[in-house]
Symmetry: C2
Subunit: 428 residues, 2 copies
């Protein structure tokens, strides 16, 4: 047996990875050189669906990252601590690390990659974004010569599942969420998914790889889907859009600051991301000279994620076979500077807004005047119907500076004719 793995965690992903590694027939022959040497778990008594001998299982995770025999540490336990400390210790001890932990990478990437570079080892993280979809390696290697200008992803399966069902069934967010929880598509505490935090971790990682700099997670503007209503989904559909939770990283010119953000977005129906439904994920990369390329597939699930984790392991085994101590600069993490992130007020984007107004003559004119005062040019303004006594007006703008739009909105909010502004969404 050639390469010894120390696996941290035997939950869904860990179990999927062990199953894949134990079922080698018909897969790449290099898998035969991998030994599951230690697996760290919380309890030895729990019933497992995989068979592992008692010498392999241990509750002492520290002993795994400190064991000189371990070549590669596979961190599939999730969470911030002790995952972070164990990863750092493994790297300091000269072990390569494979991780599926987007939260830890998005927060502690700087110290993790610095430690890895000092130790001359690799951190592989294909499973951290897009589940089984190959996107990390393509960005690092196959697309590496491009000047990337935009990465746009549907990177959270739970929210895409909820939005897809709201769209097809005309249902409310809270009803679909409750059903998704019952079916296991959403967690009991859905915060990380529905508030966009998981997507923010992932776009921070993708932006870092695409634009060659570190990303401060606090700089990522994050807005979830709780406020997306079935009313807006219906209006969006009439206007030729679907509503998706998009994670976007964009740089207008090579010298301008990045925009990195997560928010529900009206996507034109003909756009490649508009037809990505259910729990599927897709990442659209745009650059020069490549144009548009999109990666589509299962964004979660034991098997898909295990595919990514195990492929990372196999890639490390292949590198170990080449018997070199010099790092491959496309696989190692090269950048150390932080990317400059533009404040949201500077974003140029289209907006969709819905207003409830007293049905009095001239209200559309007043709206138009307020927008005009701040240079906000409108693509359409439509009185769409009534909610009780109140008239409902939907506005779609041309590309505007977000700061200007917000100023116009503040002025509009003070108009006596305006009852409320129930919805405000960005448009791709």
């Amino acid at each position: 047996m050639g390469v010894k793995l120390g696996i941290l965690g035997l939950g869904t992903v860990g179990t999927g990875t062990v199953q894949l590694l134990q079922d080698k027939a018909g897969r790449h022959p290099l898998l035969q050189e991998i030994e599951i040497y230690r697996v760290g778990v919380r309890s030895l008594d729990k019933h497992r669906t995989v068979e592992l001998s008692t010498e392999v299982l241990t509750t002492d995770l520290e002993s795994i990252v400190n064991d000189p025999a371990v070549d590669i540490v596979v961190e599939v336990m999730g969470g911030l601590e002790p995952a972070r400390s164990l990863i750092l210790k493994a790297l300091s001890n000269g072990k390569h690390v494979v991780t599926a932990n987007k939260a830890a990478i998005a927060r502690f990437g700087a110290e993790i990659f610095t430690t890895a570079n000092q130790a001359g080892v690799y951190v592989m993280l294909e499973a951290a974004v897009g589940g089984g979809i190959p996107v990390i390696q393509p960005l690092k290697q196959s697309l590496s010569v491009n000047r990337i200008h935009t990465v746009t992803g549907i990177v959270n399966g739970t929210t895409n599942y909820i939005l897809t069902r709201m769209q097809t069934e005309g249902s409310n967010f809270s009803d679909v969420l409750a059903d998704a929880q019952r079916l296991g598509y959403a967690e009991a505490d859905p915060t990380a998914d529905v508030d966009g935090l998981d997507a923010a971790d992932k776009i921070a990682i993708l932006a870092s790889l695409s634009f060659g700099g570190r990303i401060n997670l606090q700089d990522v503007y994050t807005e979830g889907i709780r406020q997306v209503s079935k009313t807006d989904i219906a209006y969006a559909e009439k206007l030729g859009f679907v509503i998706k939770l998009l994670a976007i990283a964009k740089r207008d010119t090579p010298s301008s600051p990045l925009s990195v953000r997560v928010h529900p977005t009206l996507v034109p129906q003909a756009h490649p991301l508009a037809s990505i439904n259910g729990v599927y994920n897709a990442i659209l990369v745009e650059g020069e000279p490549i144009g548009q390329v999109m990666f589509f597939g299962p964004g979660a699930g034991a098997g898909a994620t295990a595919s990514a984790v195990t492929s990372d392991i196999l890639n490390l085994v292949a590198v170990l076979k080449t018997n070199t101590a010099v790092a491959n600069p496309l696989i190692a993490c090269g950048h150390q500077e932080y990317c400059q992130i533009a404040p949201m007020a500077e974003l140029r984007t289209r907006f969709y807004a819905r207003f409830l107004t007293n049905d009095q003559p001239g209200v559309i004119g007043k709206l138009g005047t307020c927008f005009g005062n701040y240079g906000v040019s409108l693509e359409s303004i439509v009185q769409t119907g009534f909610q009780g006594e109140l008239a409902e007006i939907v506005v779609v703008t041309h590309d505007v500076r977000e700061g200007n739009f917000r100023q116009a909105l503040a002025e509009i909010r003070d108009l006596s004719a305006i009852e409320s502004i129930p919805s405000l969404l960005r448009v791709l």
Copy 2:
């Protein structure tokens, strides 16, 4: 300057590659270590859109592959000879090769990879399939642990452009082809594209990588789109399908022979490949445990193809930096056996057939009886309309053995009620 390139050919792809290599700002810093050392062209007098000094340009292509100073040979001249001989000589001389030449790889892959392995060098071919879309490297590396069972691609932009226009405009094949030639989307001699030969080269390469064996190009069943009529496109649409030229490689069980084929196919409208339109390409890979992943992007064009060629170059430069003489088994070509390919008669698939019949009672019954005699079970049989005096009947079968279907068809052809069978297409 670190790594010296010898580029063979300065046509569309060669020029795109040189442009990219000369425009390094904002791209991967490793590009700075690459020197365009020699470029082989047919004529020194031709006007070029890229500037290269006179010492770099030469008409002596042999001198490039024999020059000890050249580290990497980039073959972007296309065609079978002298491309094949120059690639083989470069490899024998210990140079890594990057090529975009699907025709040469599909035909001479066996001797090319054998020579490369003997010399301990790599052959990189990302640009050979799917233009700029990263699919070769993902198959070799990111998906390497999967048991792939199906690869289904729209891998020829010209035919997809023609079929898309036939669909949206309701036009004839010959009219759209003529217009595509005028617009530069189809070549003056469109044979390689419209007869499926280019797609056959590409699926042979994808099948070889996905199933870990060599593919004999003669074994690839190849049928083009000349016989696809606007009538069939319209009927397909009514039945819930679009017609696409698909390249398919499939293995039902790990021990069964492969099916590798190119043919126009009715694709269900909800299938991920159904919405790939125009000159775009997409490759859908299905395997265990990954499920479905799809790679989408520009299948041709100078910029996109140059992105793939240059990324291959950059990956080689990165490997050269690691200073090892031992090959990475995931990048090198490991397999030497030929895959066993199943004869088309053994294929199990659905069929769409259109019959012109004399409008006499009982003809549907007779058709049904003939199919029944050979175990062909029908999903639908519909009299759709009239062509002059003749009634038009469209049949869609369930999955059947192609051999049985053909036998039934031979018997049907002899029925006095049957005037002709103008269309016969497979259904995904």
